[in-house]
């Protein structure tokens, strides 16, 4: 079904249509929030706020094709606002500079990942904020459109490709410096192994 049809049905209260929208874009919203390095509780809050905002505005979305970009923009703004607010509270509450513990356990404790997968995942987290945001949203499933990625990062569509290239190059440099990946080429034909 076209987005226009699904949106219109959801706007009339059709739960199945709404569920289809949630299924299609939850990963996009979650990936954007996590790309901003929000913990899981905060990420859940901004995703939920975005859905509530969509319900609130469902009859006012002028261009249904722009829905992914609308969602991405909404969640990005909430992420930024939450980060501003909580970083300020952190400063006030913790003048001694002690950072609160990350409520996220290390990824390899939560799920059984291959050792190298876990290392690769950690290295992504060591990249610049821009690279983490971009690569994380590009990992959304289904793959986000470039307009949605552009809205998620507030970055022109034309900059996405070159930035992605630069971030992946940087990631390869980190990999090259790590013994776990010694001599392994990541490319076509077989990935890591």
């Amino acid at each position: 079904m076209e987005t226009r049809t699904v949106l219109a049905a959801a706007g009339r209260g059709d739960q199945a249509a709404w569920d289809a929208i949630v299924a299609e874009y939850s990963s996009l919203l979650w990936s954007i929030a996590r790309g901003f390095r929000l913990d899981r509780v905060d990420a859940a809050d901004v995703v939920q706020l975005t859905w509530l905002r969509l319900v609130e505005n469902i009859d006012r979305i002028a261009d249904p094709d722009a829905l992914p970009a609308w969602l991405a923009t909404t969640v990005r703004r909430e992420c930024l606002q939450l980060i501003r607010r909580t970083s300020r509270q952190r400063v006030v509450r913790q003048p001694d500079g002690v950072e609160p513990a990350d409520p996220d356990p290390p990824v390899e404790h939560r799920v059984l990942l291959d050792e190298r997968d876990a290392a690769l995942w950690r290295m992504v987290g060591q990249l610049s904020d821009l690279c983490v945001r971009l690569l994380r949203v590009l990992m959304a499933s289904p793959r986000p459109s470039y307009p949605a990625v552009s809205a998620a990062l507030d970055m022109p569509v034309g900059s996405i490709g070159p930035t992605r290239q630069r971030c992946l190059r940087r990631l390869r440099e980190l990999l090259a410096a790590d013994d776990l990946f010694n001599g392994i080429h990541i490319g076509r034909d077989g990935g890591l192994s």
């Binding site: 995703v47 997968d117 994380r136 290239q165 080429h185 990541i186 990935g191």
Partner: protein, 153 residues
């Protein structure tokens, strides 16, 4: 083939690998999807929208007050206004509000339901609530129903 001839294809390969890892390492929690589906239940009666005039969380350092732990929000439409003073602590939100131009209780709507907050004779109300999305409904003296947009408290 070792893949050393085509950087674009190599990038694709690396991205596919990252996407595969992300699906296992950081999937969307089921509860997030369930809550998202439930959000449709908030659809319904529309009402006049009170615009957000001020949110101190949006402001830059220069205009912020000395007390950074307090967030001030202000909503307004025609003859009605709502001022909120929000404090965060211990994972909870402490809310004090003031309405002007409204009558009766203020309804606080959260993602999972509504609660009615009694308003004192000066227009004040107060409550504690969990962090998350919230919006407020009130009735003007003229009988119109007014609501705020959703905000993350």
């Amino acid at each position: 083939m070792t893949g050393d001839g085509d950087p674009a294809a190599d990038d694709e390969e690396l991205m596919s690998m990252l996407r595969r890892i992300a699906e296992r390492a950081d999937p969307v929690p089921e509860s997030v999807v369930v809550d998202g589906r439930a959000a449709l239940a908030t659809r319904g009666l529309d009402a006049e929208l009170a615009e957000l005039l001020l949110d101190s969380a949006h402001e830059t350092a220069q205009v912020r007050g000395a007390d950074d732990d307090v967030r001030l929000l202000s909503f307004y439409v025609h003859d009605v206004s709502v001022e909120l003073r929000v404090e965060y602590g211990n994972g909870e939100v402490s809310l004090r509000g003031m309405v002007d131009g409204a009558t009766g209780p203020v309804d606080l709507e959260l993602g999972d339901g509504r609660r009615s907050l009694p308003v004192d004779e000066d227009g004040g109300f107060a409550t504690r609530l969990p962090r998350g999305a919230a919006r407020f409904w009130l009735r003007t003296r003229g009988g119109r129903v007014v609501r705020t947009r959703w905000v993350l408290l």
